[in-house]
């Protein structure tokens, strides 16, 4: 196991050098494994495409002790661990004012409906989060939907917008500037400080965009406002 240190309170474990589902599975299993070990002094674990960072309290443990403890983990055995993950449904109203760039894919030879068919009802793997709170780096976008970013980025993208930038798809939990093609918007708050899980998903989970019409968008908005909306998700994996 390649454990390295670039900051006083962090160890980085590298597991690969490219975006790969197998590496993600291994990293998720490793995070799960380390959490299960309940090692004294570990504060938080952050995943990325090819590595995992362990933040620790230098007053409770030290890098040498942690390296020894972690060095014994069998990388190959991690792949055999059955890890549960969630498949979270994100309702999306495509097109119109919610997705002003849905028509931009004509040069890809796709009608608006074809874009929705290729993008929606499909599992995307959450590799990592970052860029802004709750912003997912997703894998699994159909190649036909790859598209260079807008030449002139927008100053304001509304929170909940779902879009495509280059080879990536994702969504904006907060209002932000950005150069992505906006396909639609979800009425579900991706960040909610009042919710037990402020962000709905974590690395290793899957996301499915479910196409909805404007009437349903409004209904969900109302349900959310009155506290009646329940996030739909399914547990998969595990035993």
């Amino acid at each position: 196991m390649d454990i390295r240190q670039f900051a006083e309170n962090a160890l980085t474990i590298y597991m690969g050098d490219e975006i790969d589902e197998r590496v993600n599975r291994q990293l998720v299993a490793l995070r799960h494994h380390i959490e299960g070990m309940e090692v004294e002094g570990i504060d938080e674990i952050v995943l990325s495409y090819t590595s995992l960072i362990i933040y620790f309290d230098i007053f409770k443990t030290d890098a040498r002790v942690l390296k020894e403890t972690l060095g014994d983990i069998d990388e190959e055995a991690l792949l055999e661990e059955e890890i549960e993950y969630r498949v979270i449904e994100i309702p999306v109203c495509y097109g119109g004012e919610y997705g002003p760039d849905l028509g931009n894919f004509q040069d890809n030879g796709l009608s608006e409906q074809e874009v929705i068919d290729l993008h929606g009802n499909k599992e995307y793997l959450v590799y990592m989060l970052g860029f802004m709170p709750g912003f997912p780096y997703l894998g699994g976008l159909d190649e036909k939907l790859h598209k260079a970013r807008l030449e002139t980025p927008r100053v304001r993208i509304p929170a909940g917008s779902v879009g495509i930038g280059g080879r990536q798809t994702g969504m904006y939990p907060f209002e932000s500037p950005g150069g992505w093609h906006l396909l639609g918007r979800t009425p579900v708050p991706l960040f909610d400080p009042g919710r037990e899980e402020t962000i709905l998903y974590a690395a290793g989970d899957r996301i499915i965009y479910r196409p909805i019409d404007e009437a349903e968008y409004r209904r969900i908005e109302e349900d959310i406002a009155s506290g009646d909306y329940e996030i739909k998700y399914e547990m998969k994996g595990g035993q």
């Binding site: 504060d43 230098i58 030290d62 990592m128 989060l129 709170p133 402020t198």
Partner: protein, 331 residues
């Protein structure tokens, strides 16, 4: 309930504590006081908890109307402080009284000053922290910088402040740097440039990061300056194509895609974040082991009161006492 009313917010004033940790995996920047040492010292002067929410004022400080008697203390850059028109020094606890006007001026010898109040400033915590992260609009006072008219609550006195003041802080000139994730992509010549004459802080220096100007650092063409997005750390020195380093600080994005030549040692973060645009920073290489030992020593020194000394200058006590007497006489 103690309260301060913001008369003028200064240039960039936010509520901060020591940061929002445990949520970087979800993409939350830690935020928190940039100069953690000055922040902790301001709290210590009042007997507050180290992590009690305080205000971070940048370049030009704020002014407040005191709505109820309390005690305040400031630390960090030397901002001219006047209370009802009388000059006071920072770095000492100061009792302030209802109706008084507390005014901070421009920062000298640094760029950030921390204002602590007895019991800390009271704001709702988001994910366990009072720190403001303006980009995502969360934490602190309504997720934003303070504005004129804001009324911010403070707590009650936790303990009587001791007769202390902050002693002069002496430190080495260089900012030490731990070799980073992509250190190997930079050859000997580039490393010599990084650790050579130094870099100048540009105008693009904020809570997210400091953009530096100076010798251009080129990564080996293959694989170059781009990396797969990886978590960032406090003090990560990113080198994008173009070769001008960017030091990532408290409000940084939690993932970044540029080669990282190094990480600024935590012990030297307070020194770096007190510099102003146009100032020079000189880097020096340090091993991660040595940086850890230095940081541990520094935190122990702060926590053990190693930066405080007995305040023999009674002028800072006398004025407010006289003021209070005058007020009592008026009643």
């Amino acid at each position: 309930m103690m309260m301060l009313k913001v008369k003028s917010p200064g240039l960039y004033t936010t509520v901060q504590d020591l940061g929002r940790y445990g949520h970087q995996a979800e993409g939350f920047s830690p935020a928190g006081a940039m100069d953690y040492r000055a922040f902790m010292l301001a709290n210590q002067l009042l007997g507050n908890d180290d992590n009690a929410p305080g205000l971070e004022m940048t370049f030009r400080g704020a002014s407040f109307e005191v709505m109820q008697d309390t005690v305040i203390a400031a630390a960090g850059a030397d901002m001219a402080l006047e209370i009802d028109g009388d000059a006071f020094s920072i770095g000492v606890p100061i009792p302030v009284f209802k109706g008084s006007l507390v005014e901070f001026g421009a920062a000298e010898n640094g760029s950030r000053t921390y204002l602590a109040a007895a019991g800390g400033f009271r704001v709702d915590r988001v994910l366990g922290s009072a720190s403001t992260h303006v980009r995502s609009g969360i934490g602190g006072y309504r997720g934003r910088t303070l504005q004129a008219g804001d009324v911010i609550r403070t707590g009650d006195m936790a303990a009587a402040p001791g007769p202390f003041r902050i002693a002069g802080i002496e430190e080495e000139e260089a900012v030490r740097v731990i070799p980073g994730q992509q250190y190997d992509r930079f050859n000997e010549e580039m490393r010599e440039k990084l650790f050579g004459e130094g870099y100048t802080l540009t105008k693009d220096c904020d809570r997210m990061g400091y953009r530096l100007d100076g010798p251009v650092l080129e990564a080996d063409p293959d694989p170059g300056h781009d990396v797969l997005s990886e978590p960032t750390q406090l003090g990560s020195i990113q080198v994008p194509k173009g070769g001008k380093p960017i030091v990532l600080l408290n409000d940084r994005q939690t993932a970044g895609g540029y080669a990282r030549i190094g990480t600024v040692a935590r012990v030297d973060i307070p020194k770096l974040v007190q510099k102003q645009p146009g100032d020079t920073v000189r880097f020096e290489e340090v091993s991660v082991e040595e940086a850890t030992a230095l940081y541990r020593e520094e935190m122990e020194k702060i926590r053990d009161g190693g930066y405080l000394e007995i305040n023999n200058d009674f002028r800072s006590h006398v004025r407010p006492t006289a003021g209070k007497l005058a007020r009592i006489m008026e009643r």
